[in-house]
């Protein structure tokens, strides 16, 4: 079911884009990531809006007062919070729905890139079962060379005048993940949320950086592209939010 609904359409679309772009898998990953992010844009916007509304609620006097008033009665606090959400027309689940729908898409995108690269016999055999009849088998194996990278191998840039190789993409992934986390998680007045945001800003770049360093550079390219688009989305959303209402 996972293969039929998520993986097969993604792999075959990726290969279709690859064929349109002169069999350049690097560009195929970039365009495909952009398309998927475009398709899921309404969900991302909904999720970001929800986060912003929540931030506004948390910053309101009514919210702060109830936190103080019912700090020893969690049950009552919860009831009052729900009442407040209802009054301002905020659905606490609205942000989660977007995330829940996006999560399988992100996992599918990741898997589609890995499986299409098919670096081992088992992966290639499995790929043969995921192709649609109209997808040309002549596209396989994909050309994994992109710029200085072999997209099926971890990326390192070797320069003649340096005694060591530079993991350029890893560095870019760490920086862009940090920026994206900063831009898409607005400052919260709540101390616990602040702590979570701080940890997120620290762990996410390290985690994705580790993946980018140790796994295939095709994935690192996907992380980097996705982060850049996320930063762009975050920037636009922030500008819209900061724009004075006319």
């Amino acid at each position: 079911m996972w293969n039929t609904i998520i993986l097969e359409p993604m792999i075959n679309s990726l290969l279709y884009i690859y064929s349109l772009l002169g069999q350049n898998f690097g560009w195929a990953i970039i365009v495909f990531t952009a398309l998927v992010r475009l398709i899921t844009l309404p969900l991302t916007i909904q999720q970001m809006r929800s986060t912003m509304v929540m931030q506004e609620i948390q910053g309101s006097d009514r919210y702060k007062k109830m936190q103080e008033k019912y700090k020893k009665d969690k049950q009552k606090l919860s009831e009052e919070q729900m009442k407040l959400f209802k009054d301002v027309g905020y659905n606490p689940m609205s942000g989660c729905v977007g995330l829940i729908i996006q999560f399988p898409i992100i996992i599918g995108l990741y898997q589609a890139v890995i499986r299409t690269l098919a670096a081992t016999p088992v992966q290639l055999f499995d790929l043969s079962k995921l192709l649609y009849p109209f997808t040309s088998a002549s596209l396989i194996p994909v050309n994994s060379q992109f710029l200085w990278m072999n997209l099926g191998q971890p990326e390192r840039l070797v320069l003649d005048f340096l005694p060591f190789a530079i993991p350029v993409l890893t560095i870019l992934v760490v920086i862009t993940t940090y920026l994206q986390t900063k831009l898409t998680t607005p400052a919260s007045p709540d101390a616990q949320s602040q702590s979570m945001t701080k940890m997120m800003g620290l762990y996410m770049p390290l985690l994705l950086g580790y993946f980018a360093y140790s796994l295939a550079s095709g994935l690192a390219l996907y992380f980097f592209t996705s982060n850049l688009l996320g930063i762009l989305q975050g920037y636009i959303m922030r500008r819209i939010r900061e724009r004075p209402a006319s």
Binding site: I114, T120, V122, F125, K129, A137, S138, I140, Y203
Partner: protein, 367 residues
């Protein structure tokens, strides 16, 4: 109370991220870095030479015990999947996913490394082939290396170079090497020099070795076409379109080509005309070459079954096929103790299937 729960709160986010990471990597089936493949099996004089994961093992088929294994201690960075080549005087040539080729000389339970070759720049996936005093090693770097069996030194001026990876063993007939590549080509090379005699583009990836008769070369492609080519110039004599991608080499016997495809269909074709003699459905996808024993042809399904048909008319032999745990993707090998079937993702690495009844038992367990 709050002090006691604080560390848990602190750990919550890293735990969620860690779980997400596991999900990301886990859902992909296998990491792109993992050197995962099916076991490489070679049989010589009642000894099974098995390359799987971190070891190459020699297993006595009568007792099921290891005679020797290499390396003495597992190294996480080195894995072996290419079927070992066994030469005269017991020399065993193995290739690893660390790009290295080794010649081993077993001495009882000890193994001496005679030589090593480390000029390949990608993994050794296809099995090396020993011919006289030379060993041919296909590499995923696209090169076919010809090495002196005694010293490991290159024999040709330069290795033959295809446009993409070589994942299958070369086949040798007379003074020629026939070689397939992921670059969609089949090549005929001069055995002495490694120079190309002819090449043919078959428009799609060829994963397994070619099959040979006196005057024809056969190769199945990812596009699901079985080609028969004239071996003198590489001209296409006929082609047959199967339902799915063809992974395993066809087996030629008595004027008939037997093969299976990824859609799970077994075929028998007349090699003179390319006409289908019979086609039968298998329980699952097939990546392995079929095996012929007596009057039967055995097909391996990925899902764990071996199915036997009569050579003559394709009638099924067993009421139901044997069923084994794990993924069966490697070729089976006929021996005195039954049909040996390697398995991956299983608690048994090699099963033995009784060719007359289809009953299966485990004869080699993972190390």
């Amino acid at each position: 109370m709050s002090k006691a729960t604080f560390p848990l709160k602190k750990l919550f986010l890293p735990m969620i991220l860690g779980l997400s990471a596991l999900l990301l990597v886990g859902c992909s089936g296998r990491s792109i870095m993992a050197a995962s493949s099916w076991p490489g099996l070679t049989i010589s004089e009642d000894i099974a030479y098995l390359a799987y994961n971190q070891y190459v093992r020699a297993v006595d088929l009568s007792s099921g015990r290891d005679v020797w294994s290499y390396p003495p201690e597992a190294d996480d960075k080195i894995t072996f999947y290419a079927p070992p080549a066994v030469g005269p005087d017991g020399i065993v040539v193995i290739g690893g996913y660390n790009n290295e080729v080794l010649a081993l000389m077993p001495n009882n339970s000890f193994v001496n490394v005679l030589w090593s070759f480390d000029e390949a720049t990608d993994r050794i996936i296809g099995g090396p082939v020993i011919i006289d005093d030379m060993v041919l090693v296909p590499s995923a770097d696209g090169r076919l290396y010809a090495l002196d069996l005694e010293t490991g030194k290159p024999v040709w001026d330069k290795p033959f170079e295809a446009q993409h990876s070589l994942w299958s063993s070369p086949k040798i007939q007379d003074d020629r090497i026939y070689l397939t590549s992921l670059d969609h080509h089949i090549y005929a090379l001069d055995l002495e020099t490694g120079r190309e005699i002819w090449q043919k583009n078959l428009s799609s990836t060829i994963s397994d070795s070619p099959s040979l008769t006196e005057d024809l070369v056969f190769a199945g492609t990812f596009e699901g076409i079985l080609f028969a080519l004239d071996n003198s110039h590489g001209e296409i004599v006929w082609q047959f379109k199967a339902d799915g991608a063809i992974w395993g080499s066809p087996v030629i016997f008595d004027g008939v080509a037997f093969f299976a495809d990824v859609s799970g269909t077994a075929y028998a074709l007349d090699i003179a005309s390319g006409k289908e003699l019979w086609g039968e459905e298998l329980p699952g996808s097939s990546a392995a070459s079929p095996t012929i024993l007596d009057d039967r042809v055995f097909f391996i399904s990925e899902t764990g079954e071996v199915t036997a048909f009569l050579l003559e008319n394709g009638d099924p032999v067993w009421p139901s096929s044997a069923n084994m745990e794990g993924r069966l993707l490697a070729d089976s090998i006929p021996t005195d103790i039954g049909l040996l079937v390697p398995a991956m993702d299983s608690e048994c690495v090699v099963f033995s299937v009784d060719p007359s009844t289809g009953a299966a038992r485990c004869i080699i367990e993972p190390k």
